[in-house]
Amino acid sequence: MKSDNGYHSVMARRNEILERSTGIDYREFEISPLAFDYEGMMNSCGYSLSDIQQIQRETGVGDTPLIELRNVTKLVRSISAPGKGGRIFIKDERANPSGSFKDRRASLSVYHAARLGYEGVVCASSGNYGAAVASQAAKRGLKAIIIQEVYDSRKVGQPEILEKTRTCEAYGAEVWQVTVGPELFYMMLRALEETGFFSASLYIPTSVLGIETLGYDVAQQVMEREGKFPDMVVITHAGGGNVTGTARGLEKAGSGETVVVGASVDLRGLHMASDHDFNRKSFTTGHSGFGIPFLTWPDRTDVPRNAARALRYLDRYVLVTQGEVFYTTELLAKLEGLDRGPAGNTSLTAAISLARELDEEQILVVQETEYTGAGKLPSSQLTFAEENGIEVRQGDPKGNVPGKVIVIPDRAEQVHVEELELSKIRESYVRHAMESTGVSQPAGADVVFLAEDCGSSVEFVREVLNSLNVEKASG
């Protein structure tokens, strides 16, 4: 039987394809068209934290060093009020097999795929996650197909993504390099349908549970060394998995009081599906173009219910600019002897600003680094930016304009986070939830779900719902 592979036909078959390729019947967890049993879904695969640690050790994932950044802390104190300037630590996740924390996500999903008897795995990722899936698949003897959004219509590729193509092919994966567009999901569905492989989506429960060990390790390592849990953990935020998994791991270690801060690179104003904008950004992930939409509506992804739900866990959400992250990347190399890739340096940039608020004895942890090299370094990205018409200059990062101007700070005191109001994001989440699910009169269980899902209270949700009705009535 030959099926129709046109865009709309494949998309119409999405739910059956996903059910077959994830082994999850998402309907099992539905409470209403709006609410679902999140913890039930997370627990459905049956892996405990110690099971996950064991599975990860089998392929050399985890147990990475925690390094105190004494010189960066010194720099922060030199620009802070007396008695201020918390101690900054970094979790060197680059020590994982494919060079990033994404190995934690991939290790559990690939193990799960092998356990369920799948012959291979498919994932759509232009980033470290694709490399992690390819690496873990190699180790477990599974086949891997990685689909990457690489090129604009001129076949000009973002250098960081070209590096990811190279590394995925180095691990023996079949790599599809495609042009800009949301049809990435369509490509993934077709590959899943053709092969019967497992969908190692970033957003299935195992891909988020695998990160819990990271939060758990951070809490344990700080406790062992300093006799207390970290005061603040800063996490680069994009699709939400990093925040969700890390925060859940912190809670499981008993470090639930730690302030959880998400940090993204500010790319507001650039359209992520635009052929024109695609090569006008220096960061391919960890930016507001994913960070904000995934907070305001997490179920916009390649599975019916996203296991990454960062709004449940965030205490603060901040933005930094591209130029500030390049500056911080350079500081990490020249002050600490750590030449590391872009992702963790977004949260480190935020940390330089946030540590100024903390007392000297307080501890702030940046929970990841990644490998770096050709395509990923600031020198590579800034050269590419200039070739694509972006102005690069030195000065005050306030002059940053995404897609037009990158400003490299002169001095550390110019590094400042922009704080986004979480209450506004929560409001927007409630609005999206109502619009996307088409529920017009939410029941009590729906309101409770919305409150939990946006990390807020029933009263807050009721207030937002009331204001939406008022707008409708008057509009």
Binding site: G6, Y7, H8, N71, K74, L75, R77, S78, G120, K143, A144, Y151, S153, P159, L162, E163, T165, R166, E169, G172, A173, E174, V175, W176, Q177, V178, T179, V180, G181, P182, E183, Y186, M187, A273, S274, D275, H276, D277, F326, Y327, E330, L331, A333, K334, L335, G373, A374, G375, L377, P378, S379, S380, Q381, L382, T383, F384, Q394, I408, R411, A412
Partner: protein
């Protein structure tokens, strides 16, 4: 096996092929204008299954996981040519100044 990196490939050579996956008309409607007017394209690498071929020919390849894919031959022994980029004076000098700043603050403490 062909040793030259030119436009001619023999069976077993590692090549890159190109496919138009969706024409502009076949793409979904809700795309930004600059994306809507161009085709959705893909490239993939594999070992040539045809006896021989020239760049521009329609060929079959076997991918790294053993699947067969048909497309237009675009490159023989495809290169990885992303680079480290040019030195960035402003970035380097700013970080070196920061190093000086902490040396001064350490001296001040002592």
């Amino acid at each position: 096996m062909s040793k030259d990196c030119g436009k001619h490939a023999l069976r077993g050579d590692l090549v890159q092929i190109h496919k138009v996956i969706l024409t502009p008309e076949q793409r979904p409607e809700n795309l930004p204008a600059s994306t809507r007017i161009v085709p959705y394209e893909g490239w993939i690498k594999g070992f040539l299954l045809d006896d021989e071929a020239e760049v521009g020919d329609t060929v079959r390849v076997e991918t790294f996981i053993g699947r067969e894919v048909v497309g237009t031959l675009v490159e023989v022994n495809p290169a990885y040519d992303h680079k480290f980029g040019k030195s960035q004076r402003d970035l380097v000098s700013a970080a070196i100044r920061a190093r000086g700043q902490i040396e001064r603050s350490s001296a001040h403490e002592e």
